[in-house]
């Protein structure tokens, strides 16, 4: 009890001292900046959390003894998240990355209590004086995967295992379909939702069921490699998502759409180190090397690979817009008139399937 009572003011003191070291004048201070990471899954999930942890390691390597990183994994969204974030702030972390959508409210709440600590929340939309948000344009990877899928399919049926029907995931399914249609207008995309981010047995069942219904190229927005593994087992094609998953299905793996958070993390950290950090909303994609398409399979014919690389270059130099009208939704309604390019607000509010996706968006 006493210990508890003492600890808080003491930790606050330490935190204050650490933060004092961040002031521009004292930027040369020997005290390293402590950078904390809060993860939703295990660092070995081979997907989302794994990608964040790779970037954390890159960050540590780049800044050396100027920073000290630490992480807490498997933190459920809810009361535990608030406790973990508060704990990191108390330990004197000067910059804390909270890497799941559901950490939004806890992050904002703790940020109010620790005005000198900088918080960066992934995939959220609310900012505060000391809270910024960041995200990756995962749909660009989905689009390129779609281009490959459209070129590789024999049955013209593509299967997507969806996680949770939120705009981010719908955007990925739509972008995947748009990519496929750009090389093969005949394709249809079938979607099966598992309503989980990470449930390998269920992802396996969903993937099997898609194959049963004729899909010969699978794609997923879930976090485990189970869908790719299933594709391998059934002799179909699949993709890696969030991180390079080639080792989970040597023959099935067509490419991996990965997220490289390192450039963004490095920029934010050096901003905090130099005292120039301001809350902002970053949404980086291929242009900033945040989204990458890795390890295109030798099974992809050279002509198709050339198209994919061209599109990738287009996304990188900004000459290609995935969401450029005319785009028609499932019911045939034009959601984006010809020639118009969707802005970020539009992309954040996608709640429909584009034409070519079968089925209905759950709950609509």
């Amino acid at each position: 009890m006493f210990d508890r009572l003492l600890k808080k003011p003491l930790a606050a003191l330490v935190a204050a001292a650490a933060l004092a070291g961040l002031a521009p004048a004292a930027a040369v201070a020997a005290e390293p900046l402590k950078v904390g990471f809060v993860y939703i899954g295990p660092v070995g999930d081979a997907g989302w959390t794994y990608a964040h942890d790779l970037a954390r390691k890159a960050l540590q390597a780049k800044f050396g003894d100027k920073i000290k990183t630490q992480y807490v994994e498997n933190v459920p969204e809810g009361p535990d998240a608030a406790r973990v974030i508060r704990d990191l702030a108390q330990q004197g972390d000067g910059l804390i990355f909270t890497t799941s959508f559901g950490y939004m409210e806890p992050t904002l709440k703790i940020a109010r209590d620790y005005p000198n600590v900088k918080f960066e929340h992934a995939t959220g939309y609310k900012t505060a004086k000391n809270v910024g948000t960041y995200d990756a344009r995962t749909y660009e990877g989905a689009y390129l995967a779609g281009v490959i899928a459209g070129g590789m399919t024999k049955t013209n049926v593509l299967g997507v295992v969806g996680s949770v029907p939120i705009p981010e995931v719908l955007r990925n399914i739509d972008s995947f379909t748009l990519g496929a249609q750009s090389v093969n207008p005949k394709i249809v995309t079938k979607v099966v939702w598992v309503n989980k981010w990470f449930d390998p047995p269920k992802e396996t069942e969903a993937a099997t069921s898609l194959v049963n219904q004729g899909a010969d190229v699978l794609f997923q927005n879930t976090d485990s490699p189970a869908v790719l593994q299933t594709a391998e087992k059934l002799g179909k094609y699949g993709f890696g998502w969030d991180s390079n998953m080639r080792k989970f299905g040597g023959k099935a793996h067509l490419a991996s759409a990965t997220i490289n958070w390192a450039p963004l993390y490095e920029m934010l950290t050096s901003q905090v180190l130099s005292g120039t950090w301001k809350p902002a909303q970053y949404w980086w994609g291929m242009k900033h090397d945040t989204i990458e398409l890795q390890d295109i399979s030798p099974a992809v014919p050279p002509a198709l690979k050339k198209i994919v690389l061209e599109r990738e270059a287009g996304l990188k130099n900004g000459t290609l817009d995935i969401w450029k009208g005319p785009i028609v939704d499932q019911s045939g309604k034009t959601v984006l008139p010809a020639g118009k390019v969707a802005d970020d607000a539009f992309l954040h509010g996608i709640t429909f399937y584009v034409k070519g996706v079968e089925g209905q968006v759950p709950g609509r």
Binding site: P42, G44, D45, P200, K202, E203, T204, E205, N212, E232
Partner: protein, 306 residues
């Protein structure tokens, strides 16, 4: 592949872990012990089975390791509920919580590791048949062994002396004791034998069904297996049917989604439990049914008086 054929095929493989676990629990319950630790035992067997498969590359060793792990846990449960007469329900629940936690801890290093693909066993000749080949004859050996096991248990309970003794212990431990049978030792053996099957089910999940280890990957299958024994009114052949029915419901849900029919997933995933409650309600309307198949002394501790 024909759609119906593949629906049948996936139903069979989805039902197999449920059937295995439920048959194990059936042996437990026939001897008069309710094992609410099934979910935790499955998880422990899943992680140990995965670890063994990863280090040896041999699936049968993995099954054996899973079986031994779960049997040992069942033995521990047995000592508690049979000799120390702790409450069967509370102790079983504790075992589930323990297994969930410990398996997650043991499994930390195995998250994200991959196993070689253990291929299905195409029955020569039969697997080439149109429709029936892909539907029935291209499965993992464990799928067939499970069916054999179910019918083996029918024979065991009805036709063998050991089976009758086991049932007697579950029906009326006092009478069995009076006849000179070691009731508590028989219950322990039944608990461990059943536990081993639950363990095989767990290893099947992590080694064959989804060759991955993930924390909490059984996702309630232990509970469904428990519900199944009741649903099947404690008869092995019905357990098998029920397992395919419950396994099929999941596949059907994805099948519906893919073909554009919207059925709320949450609604379908509670179906097994609803079905069990319906069966329980029906059974209590007809006391004859209960008397026929439900082990009378289920859940009741027994202390031999000497």
């Amino acid at each position: 592949m024909d759609m119906t054929a593949s629906l049948i095929a996936t139903t069979l493989s989805a039902g197999t872990p449920l059937a295995l676990a439920a048959l194990g629990l059936l042996i437990n319950e026939k001897s008069g012990v309710v094992n609410l630790g099934a979910e935790g035992m499955m998880l422990m067997a899943a992680v140990v089975g995965f670890a063994v498969a990863l280090s040896t590359g041999n699936q049968w060793l993995a099954f054996a390791a899973g079986a031994v792990t779960a049997a040992l846990l069942a033995g521990a449960l047995g000592v508690l509920v049979i000799w120390l007469n702790t409450n069967q329900y509370a102790t079983g629940l504790a075992l589930t919580l323990f297994g969930a936690g410990l398996s997650a801890f043991i499994g930390i290093d195995y998250v994200g590791k991959t196993l070689p693909n253990f291929t299905a066993w195409n029955i020569p000749g039969l697997s080439q048949l149109p429709f029936f080949g892909p539907a029935l004859f291209r499965h993992h050996l464990m799928v067939y062994l499970t069916i054999v096991l179910a019918f083996g248990l029918v024979w065991f309970f009805d036709r063998t002396r050991a089976g009758l003794v086991l049932r007697a212990v579950g029906e009326s431990p006092e009478s069995a004791h009076a006849l000179g049978y070691p009731v508590r030792r028989i219950r322990l053996l039944a608990l461990m034998a059943g536990g081993a099957l639950v363990g095989v089910a767990g290893a099947y999940l992590s080694v064959i069904y989804t060759p991955l280890w993930v924390q909490g990957m059984t996702a309630g299958r232990g509970w469904i297996a428990l519900a199944l024994t009741t649903f099947a009114t404690w008869r092995p052949a019905r357990v098998l049917l029920g397992a395919y029915l419950f396994g099929g419901v999941t596949m059907l849900q994805f099948f519906f989604q893919g073909s554009g029919v919207q059925v709320p997933a949450q609604l379908l995933s509670m179906l097994p439990y609803v079905a069990t409650i319906v069966v329980l309600a029906l059974m209590s309307r007809n006391p004859q049914w209960i008397r026929l198949h439900m082990p009378t002394s289920i859940g009741k501790p027994f202390t031999p008086e000497s």
